[in-house]
Symmetry: C2
């Protein structure tokens, strides 16, 4: 089977040739799905704005959300945006400053921001986010009200161009291997800690216990 | 003493009124200094690009770097950029979907990107970054060559506008307190793991051992 790839344009071309750059759908999706938050870049009145938010993916579509009261999000509607996710995996400590680096996984995706207008669509999208993060939780919650749905803006983009970049492993500075300084990697670990319960009378649901045990954010 | 604040403009105004929004220099600097990486948003040919990179701060100036071969970074020179840092501290699990939230610390700073041209300035800036992250390491490294300095682009901005936002603590949904579903916070923990050594014959330097023991990324 031929692997699907996103178009390779000047914009999405890898700029750090020593790292693993991929335009494969699978590589891009893997990084998107592993990252708990994204940074969305908008151009508003000619200037750049970068805002962090939680995202989720359904096929080739990436969703994020915010407050419907935000004129900001409204201004983003219809415009091409860049949505970037980055997982910082470690400091790469070489024998020279030049070869110091970071281990990371990142994906940069481009597409047109579209705002969901229909409240049924908004509710379905929010349920998909919740189910993605916390299986079975949606159905256990106090249902959303019409007013709450109106107050929630959900946006999405269909990925038009995308690049994934991954750097892993030890420093790449074999020319300096004899230089007498410690070299290696200081790995960065990110995981869920013990749940902080507000409802002492209710046990942590099985799905959240499993999540906490795995430590995985996603 | 009066606390210094960055100007409050429409662009930098907080949009989530239930969170703690600050324009104080101290609040913005604290978040910038705690975050291991930033996301820089550029506008190139009218479109948004968001790239992750390591940043460091000296007073009101924030630096970041990249490859001098990147036409991309060159195009950013002189333009106003948005540099955002985000620390994701936990999932806030309320009794309703609407009140689910995230605990986080973020800072969004705006300023004009300037490229360092003088190799002495580039070297001094890189030394400042290294000293900031890994005290005493710079002097122990194989010195940078003229060619390496030429191949490294260092950019900075002087902060013109900035906002820090912090959300912490349990879900804010007391109206739903009696709804029978588990509520609380799933905290996210990020720390340094055990160093992966490439140089078996050399001990981990004292400063890196201290960093590893603290677990703190910065």
């Amino acid at each position: 089977m031929t692997e699907l790839t996103y178009p390779i344009t000047e914009r999405s071309r890898g700029r750090r040739s020593h790292n693993r750059v991929s335009h494969a759908h699978s590589a891009v999706h893997e990084v998107l799905d592993a990252a708990p938050i994204c940074h969305v870049g908008y151009v508003i009145d000619g200037e750049s704005y970068v805002t962090p938010t939680i995202h989720w993916r359904v096929g080739n579509r990436v969703y994020w959300h915010g407050s419907a009261a935000s004129r900001f999000l409204r201004k983003a509607a219809g415009q091409r945006v860049c949505l970037t996710v980055s997982l910082f995996d470690g400091y790469v400590m070489a024998r020279s400053a030049f070869n110091h680096s970071a281990n990371y996984r990142s994906a940069m995706v481009f597409g047109r921001a579209t705002v969901l207008e229909n409240t049924n669509d908004i509710e379905a999208a929010l349920k998909a986010m919740m189910d993605d993060l916390f299986p079975n939780r949606w159905d256990s919650l106090r249902p959303m009200t019409a007013q709450e749905l109106k107050a929630t803006a959900v946006l999405y983009l269909d990925i038009e161009e995308a690049t994934a970049k991954v750097r892993s492993g030890p420093p790449a500075d074999h020319n300096d291997a004899s230089y007498p300084v410690w070299a290696g990697v200081l790995p960065v670990k990110t995981h869920l800690g013990a749940a902080e319960t507000e409802t002492e009378h209710l046990p942590l649901p099985e799905e959240l216990l499993a999540l906490q045990t795995s430590g995985q954010l996603r």
